[in-house]
């Protein structure tokens, strides 16, 4: 683009819905995903998987497969270094429990024993058939409550199948509960689900045989975390392992970790003399052997005063973990401790159990335990309000957290727009006009509220992000970030931030992200952290670049650099607002004969947080916190049990919208995912622990039909720590959706759904039960 057009078209990009920086490639089909990567002589890799849910591996004979023409390499546990990997090394070292390829035992149908690489798919499939593995079958367990029993088959070498017990205790809930006017206990069930990103898990590994370095192209949400696990299991130095992400076709938590396929692609390439090896999951493997959402049984008991004040809460959470721990321990912690961001609670005791079963591995999925917890807690809150004959909004307003408070577990909530979110959502939805007043037409309205972190220390001892802003002599600005855009638009938001801070047009920015050898370190896309943490790093890098340019101008004109700034493509004198020169002129100067200064700004940001101490459950995990209120309006057909979602409202404290259209996109995408989880999605398992509905024909995702009108209401609290006031916001909108809908159903027809998904069958059964209860009440009264 000619330089003059940057100035002509300048608008301050922060707060504007600028088009996505990578959008043109996506709408033309030119964008390359790892799914599209192909190299000359590239081999096709496939995983060798267990057909048994639980068995000892007695012997592996690969000789027939080795002899097959077309097969180039085979790897099994003997090609590993017997090093386990996992994702909670810092907080829960005992949960590092998965081998890159299992040696002695398999723990679910699909468990990885090895992999083959061949010249084509047919040869790879034939090799898989020819590999002879002898097993000693062990008894197995699929049901999570069965797995907790003392006589259950032991899945790992431990005392029992409970991998993590997490007690969270504050105050004296027993004593406090005695002071309550009303106490109730409820049990909820939120099932397993699947991230189901459209691009499957896919990687290409290539070993450089003479330098002993390896490159992995991976569809990853966290290339640097992938590199860490890969280097560990390959027994290599971090910088001998390069992980590159390209465009990523969605992640939603499922692509947050290294998987055995990543290790296998690298090792297969090594054994094949350095030929690149591509492993791409098919959709059934996605459901079987990637990661999934924990199914959770959530028991919750709360005591309240007549005026609605919560005095104490206790409970128990049982999480079905599958065969390995993955992110399970922290998912469990988040499922319990999120409540402190939302409600003021002093007396609390909840115990969490993360339990092994012989089923696919549960890990991170958007919301990180908060979706299951949100359904339970927000449904329970409505039941409490109902018992007190209080409006659910009034009940919540009585108990919510406030700005500038420290929670019982030492989270420091600074800006907190929760009250404003509730007020704005209820006003927009005409709550008081509708609530309880549309029963005659079987319509109802329900609310759910939530809060979320923006970042969480999950990588060793820090969670920093780094950025580099390089300004070239032609005026183009390169932003290098380790952050991994997985579709949420972080490359766009970070580019907007860089342009604003540097004082130039967004059209100048080019963004390179997520290559561990080129871009600065970043822990990755999770915990709604990127805008907040990587955004702050980017401000610092852009500011550093700006200072370097201004230093040249100050030297040349013998001015004080502190008096200078760059605004709207011009170097200005801050003291009187006068224009000194165009940005392009300043750059010409910087790269002139006399100066020849390369402009390379750098920035690093690590939020001022303290990690949770899991002995006390105390810690301020996030640099700021985001809040939200959501309302659903439904109509129930009492003949068919069908629920029609009429409209949804979502008011979200996002601090400041860097790109309002992207923010709306995150909210709408979250709501759609929440709608799917509420009505359709239920990943369940057969007797052998295999997904019983592990494909898109049977695992139903929401489609365009049935998506209601969604109203996004952006609440801007301008967080002092956030980049230009912004907070992270990729997950919170998903947390209260199921409860808001369930609460609306109760308002419409007076039935309470405590188990997801909410299906017409369950609605009809509940309506029938309600009718029977009514009749027996009438009988007893007569």
């Amino acid at each position: 683009m000619p330089t003059s057009t940057h100035k002509q078209n300048y608008v301050d990009p922060v707060g504007k819905s600028v088009p996505r920086i990578d959008g043109r490639g996506m709408v033309t089909g030119q964008t390359k995903y790892v799914f599209d990567v192909s190299f000359p002589n590239m081999l096709i890799g496939k995983m060798i998987r267990s057909p048994h849910p639980h068995a000892k591996i007695v012997s592996i004979d690969t000789s027939k497969a080795d002899a097959l023409p077309g097969v180039r390499s085979i790897v099994t546990a003997k090609d590993t270094y017997n090093i386990k990997f996992g994702s909670n090394e810092y907080f829960f070292p005992h949960t590092i429990d998965q081998m890159a390829l299992e040696a002695d035992k398999v723990r679910y149908v699909g468990d990885e024993i090895g992999a083959v690489a061949a010249v084509d798919e047919e040869a790879a499939d034939e090799a898989l058939r020819l590999i002879d593995i002898k097993y000693e079958i062990l008894p197995h367990v699929v049901d999570v409550e069965e797995a907790m029993k003392p006589d259950a088959p032991m899945i790992h070498e431990s005392l029992n199948n409970i991998a993590v017990i997490l007690p969270v205790n504050f105050g004296n809930p027993e004593r406090a509960m005695k002071e309550a006017d009303y106490v109730r206990e409820d049990k909820f069930y939120a099932p397993a689900a699947h991230q189901s990103a459209m691009e499957p898990h896919v990687c290409v590994g290539q070993w450089e045989t003479f330098t002993d370095k390896v490159t992995l192209w991976s569809s990853s949400q966290a290339p640097f975390k992938c590199r860490e696990a890969l280097a560990k299991t390959l027994k290599m130095d971090l910088n001998d392992v390069r992980v590159i992400k390209l465009a990523v076709g969605g992640g939603f938590g499922g692509k947050l970790e290294m998987l055995p396929m990543d290790f296998a692609a690298c090792m297969l390439s090594k054994k094949a003399g350095g030929l690149p090896v591509k492993i791409c999951y098919d959709r059934e493997e996605e459901f079987l052997a990637s990661r999934r959402k924990h199914g959770m049984i959530y028991r919750i008991k709360t005591g309240v005063k007549k005026d609605g004040t919560i005095v104490a809460m206790t409970g128990e959470v049982i999480a079905d973990g599958g065969a390995y721990c993955s992110y399970g321990p922290t998912v469990l912690a988040a499922a319990i401790m999120r409540i402190f961001m939302v409600y003021k609670i002093q007396h609390f005791r909840m115990s969490g159990y993360r339990v092994y079963t012989n089923t696919p591995v549960s890990g991170a999925m958007r919301g990180f335990g908060g979706v299951q917890a949100g359904f339970a807690i927000e449904s329970h809150m409505d039941l409490l309000a109902k018992a007190l004959d209080m409006d659910p909004v009034e009940f919540r307003l009585k108990n919510i957290t406030s700005p500038n408070m420290t929670t019982v577990n030492k989270m420091v909530l600074t800006t907190n727009g929760l009250k404003e979110c509730i007020e704005k959502a209820t006003t927009a939805a005409e709550w008081s006009k509708k609530r309880g007043k549309q029963k005659n037409i079987k319509r109802g309205i329900g609310i759910g509220i939530a809060a979320d972190v923006m970042g969480s220390k999950m990588y060793k001892s820090h969670e920093s992000a780094g950025s580099i802003v390089k300004v070239e002599e032609d005026g183009s600005v390169y932003l290098f970030t380790g952050a991994a855009d997985t579709g949420q638009g972080s490359n766009t938001a970070l580019s907007q931030i860089a342009a604003h801070e540097l004082g130039v047009s967004y059209s100048r920015i080019k963004c390179k992200s997520g290559d561990t050898e080129i871009t600065p370190f970043d822990t990755g896309s999770f915990a709604s952290r990127v805008t907040f943490i990587s955004g702050n790093a980017t401000i610092r890098a852009a500011n550093d670049a700006k200072k370097q340019i201004l230093n040249v101008v100050a030297e040349e004109l013998k001015m004080n650099v502190d008096d200078l700034d760059i605004k709207a493509e011009e170097v200005i004198n801050k003291t009187n607002g006068s224009v000194i020169m165009d940005f392009d002129k300043a750059l010409e100067l910087a790269y002139s004969f006399n100066y020849g200064r390369q402009i390379i700004g750098r920035g690093s940001y690590n939020p001022k947080t303290t990690p949770i101490d899991f002995r006390t459950a105390e810690g301020n995990v996030s640099g700021s916190y985001g809040f939200e209120a959501q309302i659903a309006e439904v109509e129930v057909d009492t003949d068919t049990g069908e629920v029609t979602l009429l409209e949804m409202w979502d008011a979200h404290d996002i601090g400041k919208a860097i790109n309002p259209q992207s923010v709306e996109g995150q909210i709408e995408g979250s709501l759609a995912m929440g709608i799917g989880y509420t009505f359709l999605e239920n990943l369940h398992f057969d007797k052998k622990g295999r997904p019983a509905n592990g494909n898109f024909a049977n695992y139903r995702l929401p489609r365009s039909m049935g998506i209601p009108k969604m109203n996004s209401i952006l609440v801007e609290t301008n967080d002092p720590e956030g980049p230009f006031g912004a907070k992270g916001m990729g997950e919170a909108s998903l947390l209260p959706t199921s409860a808001a809908i369930a609460n609306a159903i109760e308002d419409a027809v007076g039935i309470r759904m405590k188990e997801l998904p909410i299906t017409p069958d369950k609605i009809l059964k509940a309506l029938k039960d309600k009718e029977l209860d009514k009749k027996s009440d009438e009988k007893n009264n007569s």
Binding site: V27, Q195, M198, G249, G250, Q488, E668, G669, F696, M710
Partner: protein
């Protein structure tokens, strides 16, 4: 030798006969804009247009398409000028990860070429085979409505 007409170009291919159109596009011709998320006709990600109709490339045999007019996402833009659908998807913020987008655009193109002013119901019906996990569909629907308006104006001008 099989001759396929794709995006206005002729391709001569040696086919075994059992290749799907998806495999031929991606593996033989390097037209990787057409993706797949399931390869079993459930996700719509591989949608292309054949003689103006939206068709799933993963379940269509390539050898049977001689003489047919095949259009993929790569055939939509004219040099630097985006097709109104592509432009509207960008303008309305309908694109997130982008992986499903070529399929959505091709489903929408088959609809709008016949009916540039579809109702929400007609759009839902046309998109019923397409899955998106990121965007929640609404901005995609807005983009299709917007593109329809522009296509109608363009038709009126021609």
């Amino acid at each position: 030798m099989t001759t396929l007409h794709i995006n206005g170009k002729k391709y001569q291919l040696e086919l075994k006969g059992n290749e799907t159109l998806l495999e031929v596009l991606r593996n033989n011709l390097g037209l990787t804009g057409t993706k797949t998320a399931c390869e079993e006709s459930e996700c719509g990600t591989c949608t292309v247009n054949i003689n103006g109709k939206s068709v799933l490339a993963c379940i269509t045999m390539a050898a049977a398409l001689e003489g047919d007019r095949i259009t993929t996402i790569e055939g939509l833009s004219n040099d630097d000028v985006l097709h109104p659908l592509q432009q509207a998807f960008l303008d309305k913020g309908a694109v997130q990860c982008g992986f499903c987008i070529p399929g959505f655009i091709m489903s929408a193109k088959a609809l709008l070429d016949k009916n540039p002013e579809p109702t929400r119901e007609e759009i839902d019906y046309a998109l019923d085979g397409n899955l998106c996990r990121c965007a929640g569909y609404l901005k995609i629907i807005e983009a299709i409505e917007e593109a329809g308006k522009i296509m109608k104006e363009q038709q009126a001008q021609n």
